[in-house]
């Protein structure tokens, strides 16, 4: 397969890695066009910590899917790390998801029959790393999130906070451009939630680009920029200095 995806993005902090221009997404559940995203203009630069907020129905999830390359825009353009996502086919989308996006989900989304390292290793497996290399890196990442002594455990043997830490380690596996977290503390108690936010802060400090989709102001407080969505449009953006 021709891997036309630009995988090595070598850009300095402050350069835009994600650019959306006049991006629209419509669904056609019936005869009527349902406009979920309307003319989204969005630029995110390397190293930013961005929170996307909005009430339900505001198009948050759709925007998340769009950023995560799980879906293609109906109109407009979306460029991620130099790749025009709207032009990519299914295989290329898979490739770009695997290499540029690190997903962290609300419900952790670990695979039950795999243990901690094996879960962390999945993205590297699909990028074609050798088993030896990827397993070593997975173990490294596990200790980085404080689960070095739990590598052989199954997700069902871990607490929610620990599971989410595995998910973060997994998101870091391919050193993605963006860590895309969807309500990362939504299923956690406040203490574990705080833990996770601390880890995200630390990653941000290390220069990672983080996008969090949430409706929780406490989480948004960690971000440098908060994007408020309403009815499929960017209503306002607030910049904060942390």
């Amino acid at each position: 397969m021709i891997q036309q995806v630009n995988k090595t993005v070598d850009i300095d902090s402050g350069t835009p890695i994600l650019v959306m221009e006049q991006l629209c997404k419509s669904y056609y559940p019936g005869a009527v066009e349902l406009k979920v995203l309307r003319d989204i203009e969005l630029t995110i630069t390397r190293g930013e910590y961005v929170a996307i907020m909005g009430p339900s129905g505001s198009g948050k999830s759709t925007l998340l899917n769009m950023i995560g390359c799980l879906d293609r825009p109906t109109r407009g353009s979306y460029t991620l790390g130099g790749n025009n996502v709207s032009m990519l086919d299914d295989d290329q989308l898979s490739l770009i998801r695997g290499s540029h996006i690190g997903f962290v989900f609300q419900s952790f989304n670990l695979i039950d029959q795999l243990n901690v390292v094996e879960n962390i290793e999945i993205p590297m497996y699909y990028q074609g790393f050798s088993e030896h290399d990827s397993m070593a890196r997975a173990a490294e990442l596990a200790s980085m999130v404080g689960l070095g002594d739990r590598v052989g455990h199954r997700p069902s043997e871990l607490s929610g906070g620990q599971q989410q830490r595995v998910a973060i380690a997994r998101a870091l596996a391919n050193d993605p451009l963006i860590i895309l977290a969807d309500e990362p503390t939504g299923n956690l108690d406040s203490e574990s939630g705080a833990d996770i936010l601390t880890i995200l802060d630390r990653l941000h400090d290390e220069g990672k680009t983080i996008i969090v989709v949430t409706h929780d102001d406490n989480i948004a407080a960690h971000a440098e920029r908060v994007i408020h969505l309403l009815d499929g449009r960017v209503r306002r953006q607030e910049y904060k200095n942390r």
Binding site: N65, G68, L70, D71, D90, D91, S94, L95, R97, G98, S99, I101, F103, F105, N109, L110, I111, D112, Q113, L114, I122, P123, Y125, Y126, Q127, G128, S130, E131, R170, N174
Partner: protein, 434 residues
Amino acid sequence: MLLFRLKRTFKLGIKSLWMHRLRSTLTTLGIIFGVSSVIAMLAIGEGASQQAQEQIARLGSLNIIVKTVKPLDEQESTTQEMSMNQYGLTYTDAERFRNSIPDVQVVVPSRRVSQQVRYRNRKVSTEILGTVPWYTDISPIQMLRGRFLSSVDMHHKQGICVVDEQVVTELFAFDDPLGQDIKIASDYYRVVGIVNHDEPVKGGNGLSGNVSAAPSGGGANVGTIYIPLTTVKDRFGEVSIQVSGSSGANIEKVELQEIVVKVSSVNEVLRTRGVLETLLERFHKKNDYQVVVPLELLQQAKDFARIFSIVLGSIAAISLLVGGIGIMNIMLATVSERTREIGIRRALGAKKRDIVLQFLSETLLLTLTGGILGIVLGTAIPFFVTYFSKHPTTVTGGSLVLAFGISAAVGITFGLYPAYRAANMDPIESLRHE
């Protein structure tokens, strides 16, 4: 690289299947039974066909066998008194065959009598075959020691005999049989040769069909003793008396029990058979003969074996198909159960192809494991069938390859659709799936 990837995919497959051991085992059972029944049934069919073909081949494919059969008695009522019943093949028949059919190579007339044979204090009941020196041309027997009957023996009606191995083991414990005299009926015969044992063909179509002229020895004859035909005619006569119940005796006169005609090539067999039958019809008004053509029997046996194999094979193939459908069913259930896993993998960079491969490898693992276990079971079953029922079976390499190939094909066929379904799920939808 690809191989490496495949290895990992299969490892993952094993892990997933191991998670649902019971389900995997039950699913595999369908294939195991399917494959083993294909192999076992083909083995039983093949065994039967080989046995039949071997027996027929022993009769000789160039031979045409004409046998005496007792005609259906139309005047059974007259048996209150002594009646003389002459029927069957005659020396004249043999002479006619020899003289009037150009393609005939050899004509072998023979008589069979069942007799007690004695050597010192040992006794055994055997079949006495009165025949001619060229009997060896139409029979698969081999000389082991000494010589067979000769034309000099024929001419002088010598009291000599050739015995087969079975007779040797029964009669002569430690003595060398050659040159010894054995007693058959009231006369002594000198043993001049030993031949190997020619297993009489079972099933009524063989050379040794029970002939009415022979006293019914209960079928417990051991071995065969070959004596010059002329000697047999001289010493045993052609008339036999059968005491039939309370109502007196039945006297029968039969000259020959059998005439075997051998032609020079396979192409001549059917034509010669026609000529023989025309001749026989003209001179035998009573229906007292039967013509057996081993070549035809062989053809029939092969046709029958083929049909038999097709029928057995189809039944077994259907069971494999059912097994395959079972697998597909389970895989579809597995796919929908693991929708979320599929979504996760897709989000983490799995291409559709990766998902297809993952599920296909699981199906293949199930069917190939089933295939291997099925081969083991399928080769064991014929073994036990042979052991317990004495019915011959032959497991052919071809049937193993066939069964394994079918199980792999079933795996791919019935695995592709579930795998395809899995790969084409919408990642967003499947991530949301609970």
